[in-house]
């Protein structure tokens, strides 16, 4: 752990001040094997993702940027066709510092585990293969490869950045589009008012594989997200993080509101922060009261067509889910 920190400090060159901060954090965390708790102040300063062409305020791009600060320059990245690949690999602009490969859309987890197997076969000590994929590439077209990859048990990290639609192709509905959302293939029409299906529960699907470590996260809770990335890195087997990452362009809110929206989805109970570890589910946050879902929904153009009855239904679904969570999961 501390060896990892010192490598990053050397590369960033600003050994003085940030070094003091980093070793302070390490000391605070205890002995060398203790987990570092990441904050804005002790993150390695080195950037691994620069000059990309994502929309201003893109939640997904911030998720990648921060995850890579935790994972370091030695991680080998696999990304499918999607926004992050589309904005980071256009010849001659390559925005990642890390080794990185775009994968066919359906096969991010397959390529990532092929990378892991290849590095292991070549004798690399402790190879770190990391996949970043969106909701479509994970829950729909990519779910088969993800399932097989977890089943095979190679050590790799899979981070799903969930912006609840196929954004790169123009905001079409995916399996993770929530009930009520307008997308370009579930528009708020005269007869059908947006998406009529609920989100597929990828976190629980992945957990059902008996995965070593899985977690939900949100860009509204950045330290929680970064620390979960660290846990995934340390768990020694397959791991999965599902991070809620708003898309200002697709959701119809201001580019400056991305993190506020991502906080509201958690505070309203429409998204939960949880972990699956040692075969058990644990809620990280169990709010006594939720903020009104209306506050979260109505600031986004994709929900502006919702009527009171739709919002009531959304609340009913939320309440049913939380009743289940509170009675079955460790709180």
């Amino acid at each position: 752990m501390s060896a990892n920190m010192s490598v990053n400090m050397k590369q960033s060159g600003s050994a003085g001040a940030s070094g003091a901060a980093a070793s302070g954090a390490a000391a605070a965390a205890g002995s060398g094997s203790q987990q570092i708790k990441w904050t804005a102040r002790n993150l390695p300063e080195q950037e691994h993702f620069y000059g990309h062409k994502a929309c201003g305020g893109c939640g997904e791009s911030l998720a990648l940027r921060l995850a890579l600060k935790v994972l370091g320059p030695d991680a080998y990245l696999s990304l499918p066709a999607g926004c992050m690949a589309a904005v980071s690999f256009i010849y001659p602009n390559m925005a990642f510092r890390n080794n990185a490969i775009i994968t066919p859309f359906a096969s991010t987890a397959a390529v990532a585990t092929g990378v892991a197997a290849g590095l292991k076969a070549l004798g690399k000590a402790d190879p770190l293969s990391v996949a970043f994929a969106g909701d479509g590439g994970t829950a729909d077209i990519g779910i088969q490869a993800l399932s097989g990859a977890i089943d095979r048990g190679e050590r790799f990290i899979y981070i799903c950045t969930d912006n609840e639609a196929y954004m790169n192709t123009g905001i079409q509905k995916s399996g993770l589009t929530p009930f009520g959302a307008a997308t370009t293939t579930t528009p708020a029409g005269k007869v059908i008012h947006g998406s009529i299906t609920e989100k597929k529960n990828m976190f629980e699907i992945v957990a059902a594989h008996g995965i070593r470590y899985a977690a939900t996260a949100s860009m509204g809770y950045l330290e929680d997200f970064m620390n979960k990335v660290q846990k995934a890195k340390d768990c020694g087997g397959p791991s999965y993080i599902h991070v809620f990452a708003p898309c200002p362009t697709g959701w119809g809110h201001g580019s400056e509101e991305t993190l506020a929206v991502a906080k509201q989805v958690v505070d309203s109970g429409l998204w939960y922060l949880a972990e699956f570890e040692g075969g058990e589910f644990r809620l990280n946050r169990n709010p006594e009261t939720f903020i009104p879902v209306r506050d979260y929904l109505k600031r986004q153009a994709r929900f502006k067509h919702l009527q009171d009855a739709d919002i009531a239904e959304i609340e009913r679904l939320r309440d049913a889910k939380w009743q289940y969570l509170r009675s079955h999961w460790t709180v």
Binding site: A17, L43, Y50, P92, N93, L222, L259
Partner: protein
Amino acid sequence: MKDFIKSPVPPFRRLADLPVGSSLRSFHVVEGNAAWRVFRPLIDHARCVKCHRCYLVCPDAAIHIEDAAAGAAAGKRFIIDYEFCKGCGLCAYECKPGAISMVKEAADE
């Protein structure tokens, strides 16, 4: 500190100038994103409390931490890379003391 530098545009006179396969060296960016901006963020360093939030939340990594000049009490300054800032406004929105304001870019810039 900012350790990112742009790369020159690669030559393109013959097929052999292209890389083998569909590969190129990582961290090789030839152009910035400044032209995207409608508003630009301005940091009031006097109001800044060095919380590191703006640096943390920029999706483009366009805010760097510099050590202040020798002798300064606090030790850090937050500097915006205007070549890559897209003007999304997240830094200003997330800054609790309100030390960052979004100012319209001049028409001829």
